[in-house]
């Protein structure tokens, strides 16, 4: 499909779900009710680490209005010695995360749940549950968790033959690291820390579940995948998948945090026990204590370069907090860290560290921003030491087609260099800076994913189009799908309605995650639409009494071609649809595939900051992201991904962090103290989209949702360094930390 002929691809059309979302009609996770519905509530551990000796629920059960009480014994147990994996989750951990079994492993860990006729009674009943805890020593921070003699979370974890909190490791290796460093004229090694940060979706987790007497279960919930909800609920409750219909509510943000279940299995068991539909909605405090976040980290990066700026060796060591169960995103940190560069000798290692905090969940390019933060800061120091412009250093060493990355692949055509060159040529890079102002740059990489998707494209009897796909739409994907279907069928996009099917009405579709939704759904929608076009041509051929090969589809019409050109008047989609029953019945096609060819995403960012040296406040003055987006099918929503990623990264860099009190509890479990960027904190966020079409995709789509977050913390950190001449090696660069770092010497030098 060539660019100039596109009518809808590349247009900022109005999203199909838009009117409902601006009028308050769209139904999110907490917005539905059912007749006879009752309320579920979770009792959570008051201790960061405790053995559960016994639980007595009798008093709660006796409270009038209480209809069911459950504990871990009501949830299917996956024994510790046998791994059962669903996607990237291990059900051994999932079953213990949704309900504490042998031990409570973090403050806020569910230990029991109640369903009652009102929320107030459910909450009251939780207080009547007696849990006999043996309180255990606990550990939160990585450095404490990996010390000899640290309290151990799990008996079964061994590292180097000894009991440990290091649950897993990963290593990527390329070339000969010692030989590489031996060639270097300058070697810089630095250590960094980052704090856990929450995805921060504004919609808290919510669901409504009804289990009928025959076990048929309907789940209404907000998640990043109704099929994941079905599968996990099935595994954790023992109900077969065929009995569960998971309906995707509109989702009020996820960023990876809604790729696992918390409430659905509990509500299912409560509904089964009580015989009533059960609704559960988390409070913000529960979200902050017991869901997400992403890992905190400790890392050391060492990079060596020759004096003319060629990077010859790089080594990264990343320790990531997994929370209560194994599974931190070390693959993203260690795998993506050096991926933007052509470096012959690399070792990148990740260590997965458990500690007594909530189990981490995916967060936008999980691990990759942590990896990039350390690498991109050290690269800045290399550029400074060699007196090379930081973008020139990156351009000189940029990965390109044919580069072998340490994490495995040899790159096909990628647009990284274009993002760097666009940044260097952009007016932002040359704009003047004032006192205590600075500019930083950074690049980043994310894998992107393909995977399973399904679509059904049906022609209605009046000649319009209904497209059903299986991925919850978080950021406008329905609009992009409408553009593609309209383009292929040659009709106005307003004639295409795009729906997200539930697990009973559309084929299996994997998570909305990995920046995969438009990449994968465009493939199945394209193939379905092509089959539909084939049917439309065949129907017209039948009416005309000619061979289907002699019919072309153009501008939403069938037209006879070749020898038959001009012999019959063209037939529109509506005309063919009106004759569908006589010509062979309903017109429609569905395609279900495991898509491949996603190819990674790259971006390069420029950030300007100003430091208020009296208050320690860092303000972002200007921010420009340059990203290879493949093909922007709906440019405004692609920009939106880029802008949203920048905002989240700015929060991560400057303010957001979990603060623990001396009892091992989160001290800031709300939006007042967990400070995400608000409107007045940010400038306009410029997005420069570079379109290097993905050769492996029908429309050239590359995933765009996650890489926008990857370079941000490094770009901000490099800008702060440029403003002050001083580098902070830990995030967030919050006002108290910045103030503490501003001694007289720094201030004078910066002036």
């Amino acid at each position: 499909m060539n660019e100039t002929s596109n009518k809808w691809i590349g247009q900022n059309t109005i999203r199909p779900d838009g009117a409902d979302k601006v009028t308050g009609r769209a139904a999110y996770g907490a917005d539905t009710t059912m007749p006879g519905m009752i309320w579920g509530s979770v009792l959570r551990s008051p201790h960061p680490h405790a053995r559960i000796r016994s639980i007595d629920t009798s008093k709660a059960e006796a409270l009038p209005g209480v209809k069911a009480v459950i504990t871990a014994k009501d949830i299917v147990e996956f024994p510790l010695d046998k791994s059962v994996v669903l996607g990237i989750q291990d059900m051994r951990w999932m079953c213990r995360n949704v309900m504490a079994r042998e031990k409570a492993l973090f403050h806020g860990h569910p230990v029991a749940a109640v369903a009652a006729t009102t929320e107030a009674i459910a909450a009251e009943a939780c207080k009547l549950i007696d849990v006999d805890y043996e309180v255990l020593p606990w550990v939160i921070e990585i450095e404490d968790a990996i010390k000899p003699g640290a309290p151990l979370l799990h008996d079964f974890i061994q590292f180097e033959g000894k009991p440990s909190n290091i649950a897993g490791t990963l290593e990527h290796k390329l070339g000969d690291i010692d030989a590489g460093f031996a060639q270097a004229d300058v070697v810089i090694e630095r250590s960094f820390t980052t704090r856990p940060v929450h995805q921060g979706y504004i919609e808290t987790h919510a669901c409504l579940v009804s289990v009928s007497a025959d076990g048929k279960t309907t789940i209404w919930s907000s998640s990043q995948g109704q099929f994941m909800v079905r599968a996990m609920t099935s595994l954790l409750t023992g109900l077969p998948q065929s009995s569960i219909r998971a309906i995707p509510a509109e989702i009020g943000g996820g960023f990876g945090g809604k790729t696992i279940v918390y409430l659905e299995p509990l509500a299912t068991v409560l509904s089964k026990k009580s015989g009533r539909p059960v609704k559960m909605v988390m409070s913000r405090e529960e979200v902050m204590r017991a869901t997400g976040p992403t890992s905190g980290s400790m890392s050391t990066v060492k990079i060596g370069a020759t004096k003319d700026g060629k990077i010859v060796a790089a080594q990264g060591t990343y320790y990531l907090q997994a929370g209560a169960f194994p599974g931190s995103p070390i693959r993203g940190a260690a795998g993506c860290a050096f991926a933007p560069y052509d470096i012959p000798n690399v070792i990148s290692r990740g260590f997965d560290v458990v500690s007594n905090r909530s189990k981490v969940a995916a967060y936008r390019a999980p691990g990759a921003p942590i990896g990039a933060y350390a690498v991109e800061c050290v690269l800045d120091e290399i550029a400074e030491a060699l007196k090379i412009d930081p973008l020139d250093l990156r351009i000189q060493n940029a990965a390109r087609e044919g580069t072998k990355a340490a994490h495995g692949p040899v790159y096909p055509r990628i647009g990284l260099l274009e993002t760097m060159e666009a940044a260097r040529a952009h007016p932002h890079y040359k704009a003047p800076l004032g006192k205590f102002q600075g500019r930083g740059v950074a690049s980043g990489f994310w894998f992107n994913a393909g995977g399973e998707s399904s679509a059904q494209v049906n022609i209605t009897e009046d000649g319009n189009v209904v497209v059903t796909t299986g991925h919850p739409d978080i950021g406008g994907s329905r609009a992009a799908i409408a553009n593609i279907a309209a383009e292929l069928l040659g009709i106005d996009y307003r004639r295409v309605s795009v729906l997200i099917g539930d697990t009973a009405t559309v084929g299996y579709s994997n998570l909305t995650g990995g920046s995969r939704v438009l990449f994968a759904s465009a493939i199945v929608v394209t193939e379905s639409a092509e089959q539909v076009i084939g049917q439309l041509k065949a129907r017209a051929a039948k009416v005309w009494g000619i061979s289907a090969d002699a019919v072309v589809w153009e501008n939403g019409e069938a037209r006879p071609s070749g020898d038959h050109t001009g012999n019959f008047p063209t037939m529109t989609l509506a005309e063919i649809a009106a004759k569908a029953s006589e010509t062979g019945g309903p017109i429609g096609a569905g395609v279900q595939l495991n898509t491949t060819g996603a190819e990674g995403g790259f971006s390069t960012h420029i950030c300007d900051v100003e430091v208020d040296v009296e208050l320690g406040i860092v303000s972002v003055l200007r921010y420009t992201s340059f990203q290879d987006v493949g093909r922007a099918v709906h440019p405004a929503y692609v920009e939106g991904q880029i802008q949203g990623g920048a905002a989240q990264g700015i929060g991560w860099a400057l303010n957001e962090e979990y603060i623990y009190n001396k009892d091992g509890k989160v001290d800031n479990p709300g939006f007042l103290d967990y400070r995400m960027p608000v409107c007045s904190d940010l400038p306009m966020l410029d997005a420069v989209m570079i379109e290097i079409p993905n050769p492996k995709h029908p429309q050239g789509v590359r995933g765009v949702g996650e890489v926008p977050l990857v370079p941000v913390m490094a770009a901000v950190a490099n800008a702060v360094h440029s403003a002050l001449g001083k580098r902070f090696y830990s995030l967030p660069m919050s006002p108290p930390k910045v103030l503490e770092g501003l001694d007289e010497g720094t201030l004078q030098a910066a002036e």
């Binding site: 009020g252 949203g644 306009m684």
Partner: protein
């Protein structure tokens, strides 16, 4: 304890409801009144997803007691469009893609309308500070701010 009886006006309709003394306005809107357009992002006044107009004041309905609604005039997101006709802000948000997940959108729209009713010629900074109580995690606010500024410009033009 007996429930409280409240008579009020919601989106122009005379409305009566029963509530507990400690029910928030948001609880009642989302529960018995079935007006789920107002969202609960925090329940503590920090996210603005529950924003409504109480007479001519912009308030967080999660921080307002339902009983305070007595004899007042409340407008929620459901009262913003007139029939099928979207408010210019709603239309502009759609055109400029100023929403992604859309959970913050009702609150942001109610707050933006309150701003434009006071000041139809706000600067970017004024928009940013006015909306500082409305968290959006998806958009980075860029398109929201542009949509408000553009709507203001169009409404000024239309008013001439």
């Amino acid at each position: 304890m007996a429930k409280l009886h409240v008579s009020t006006t919601i989106n122009g309709e005379p409305t009566e409801f029963l509530c507990e003394a400690n029910d928030s306005m948001l609880d009642v809107l989302r529960g018995p009144l079935g007006l789920t357009g107002s969202k609960e992002g925090c329940g503590s006044g920090d996210c603005g997803a529950c924003s409504i107009m109480l007479d001519d004041r912009l308030v967080c309905s999660c921080l307002m007691l339902a009983a305070e609604a007595e004899d007042s005039d409340i407008t929620t997101i459901e009262g913003m469009a007139v029939g099928e006709k979207l408010h210019p802000l709603q239309q502009k948000f759609l055109e400029l893609a100023a929403l992604q997940c859309g959970i913050c959108t009702p609150g942001v729209l109610v707050a933006s309308k309150a701003l434009l009713e006071r000041n139809l010629n706000p600067t970017e900074t004024e928009v940013r500070y006015w909306l500082a109580g409305n968290l959006c995690r998806c958009t980075g606010y860029d398109k929201i701010v542009r949509a408000v500024l553009d709507t203001a410009a169009e409404m000024r033009e239309a008013a001439q």
